[in-house]
Subunit: 337 residues, 2 copies
């Protein structure tokens, strides 16, 4: 396949100068209709396509945003991506999704590549929000916004959801329904979300005057359906006199696994065990027993993150902000019997 044609080729074919071709592209009003037609014809003949690398080299800035995410298979992240996509589109930009698969090395690869590409801005849900790679990006001057994670220092913009509040909402809901023995299912605690939601759960529990030891923590190794099933086995292993009557799962995948395990074992939800999930993914409402869940404004999260990164890119007086959204409980049959 021959080398793609350039403005120079177009100019030659249209018998005009290179500057005129450029004018046709960038200030068409300055060029006479006749020559413009000639040039446009030449472009069609040659199948001319602007070379974005050259434009960018010249302009010093690109027309793309990127979102580096942990796991494209988790609907939470793809919804966030969708929100960012909409914001990017209305700013006339492309959004590239990069899938780190939870691996620090691949995440670092992508970040480095994006910085080298001089993208306008990067959104990232990092494996570890304190990793030095993020600071490297900052030092190289590429705007970066942390999504769904937070850092104590105010070196970056971030958008997140109030997970402590989310945990509180979930447990308050169960307490109001009269439950006095509840299981908290989730882990590992290295994940900030897990810690925060547990903290919120404990706040609500204490506020209701319930004894500490009636809020059982069942630790999992990951936030997956399979772990949910295994947690279900452990819950059922608890003697019935001490068994919780409700469970709060750190995310919907766990809740779905738990639900499946219970119905396999012939138990009924919510009669034998009420369940609250977290994230309100599409499959939550579509489960065999529709799942009560804590909904996060996912699209809004992505949209706001994209706006912040653009502000950082364009406004010299940009101030970093930590945006915190408010979650909301959606009650369904898994707690309403």
């Amino acid at each position: 396949m021959a080398r793609a044609s350039s403005v120079k080729d177009v100019a030659a074919r249209a018998h005009v100068s290179l500057g005129t071709v450029s004018n046709v592209l960038n200030r068409p009003e300055r060029v006479s209709p006749a020559t413009r037609a000639k040039v446009e014809q030449a472009m069609r003949d040659l199948g001319f396509v602007r070379n974005e690398s050259a434009r960018q080299l010249r302009a010093g800035r690109s027309r793309t945003l990127a979102y580096v995410l942990l796991d494209a298979r988790n609907p939470f992240f793809t919804d966030v991506a969708q929100g960012a996509e909409l914001a990017a589109e209305s700013a006339g930009l492309s959004l590239f999704l990069c899938h780190s698969g939870n691996r620090p090395s691949r995440e670092a690869d992508y970040l480095a590549h994006l910085v080298e590409q001089r993208v306008q801005g990067i959104l990232v849900t990092p494996v570890d929000p304190h990793a030095a790679v993020l600071d490297d990006v900052r030092r190289n001057g590429t705007p970066l916004v942390i999504v769904d994670r937070t850092r104590e220092d105010a070196e970056f913009c971030s958008v997140a959801v109030d997970d402590v509040l989310g945990g509180r909402l979930a447990v308050e809901h169960l307490v109001e329904a009269g439950h006095t023995r509840v299981a908290f299912i989730g882990g590992p605690e290295t994940i900030g979300q897990v810690r925060d939601r547990l903290a919120g759960a404990r706040q609500a529990w204490a506020a209701a005057g319930l004894p500490d030891d009636q809020l059982t923590v069942i630790a999992t190794d990951a936030l997956t359906v399979a772990e949910g099933r295994s947690a279900g086995e452990r819950v059922m292993g608890i003697g019935s006199s001490r068994r919780p009557t409700a469970a709060f799962c750190v995310n919907d995948l766990l809740a779905l696994g738990l639900l499946q395990q219970l119905s396999t074992a012939g138990l009924s939800v919510p009669r034998d065990l009420a369940i609250v999930g977290y994230d309100d993914i599409e499959y939550a409402a579509a489960a065999a027993v529709p799942l009560t869940s804590v909904r996060q404004p996912r699209q809004e999260l992505g949209r706001r993150a994209a706006e912040l990164v653009l502000d950082e890119a364009e406004d010299p007086d940009h101030q970093h902000q930590q945006v915190v959204f408010t979650p909301e409980l959606v009650a369904r049959r898994s707690t309403l019997g």
Copy 2:
């Protein structure tokens, strides 16, 4: 924030010429350890980052692949993306995911942008495999592979799965289980997959010597959970003497919706209705009643597509290939009672 520093800045700071800096980057063996150290120190001091646009302009080729997909929220596509990601990684490339959201205009935007970026190659699951935008990409010389769709002409490489066979496997499985009234649920028929799987279903049905009118087609407007629920209502509206005893759904989302609708209505799966889905997404095995489903080698699909696009990019003698993978039925409780 100041302009990012260039090789020129590094050269000035290290008191060497610009060519030497370039040598440190590209042929470090040619430069003496002493000056090399000096240059590397200057790079660190300035936070120097190569400008990929300039490199690419010079080199004429980029270091990225892209996958333009229909719906990032469908696990099928993200699994394909994962396979492509692995292949890209082992070739030392980045893979950018672009989400068209099933909209032809956004798909066209992305394809145009990628061609302008001169990416090494594009994988695409197009809204319409016959759309002219694909031919435009080809004419501009960017290698392109069609994923999970096919075209009759051999203008492109493509990777797909044998959907006729998949349809046959599903229905053969139901026939072997003794079902003689079966519903085919899916649509719209503008989607090639729907047509092919239906064709396969009919083949198997005819081969078993069963009468045409006992294979009922229930058309849906989309392949979503919500449509599955609505299909469920329609199935249940059929008088019990004529009601199918099994359903074959064109994808797992439909099957999950159907399953949910049935259990809401107090019917049992598979006793009242056996269900076969398609795709074998993670949630299929995790459903309240684990779903029998037709599995496609999704990661393999992505991996192979990436390999083909790289071959097209690198081998001047490249021949287009239509790769067709073989699906496989995974039997679970939704048909095994």
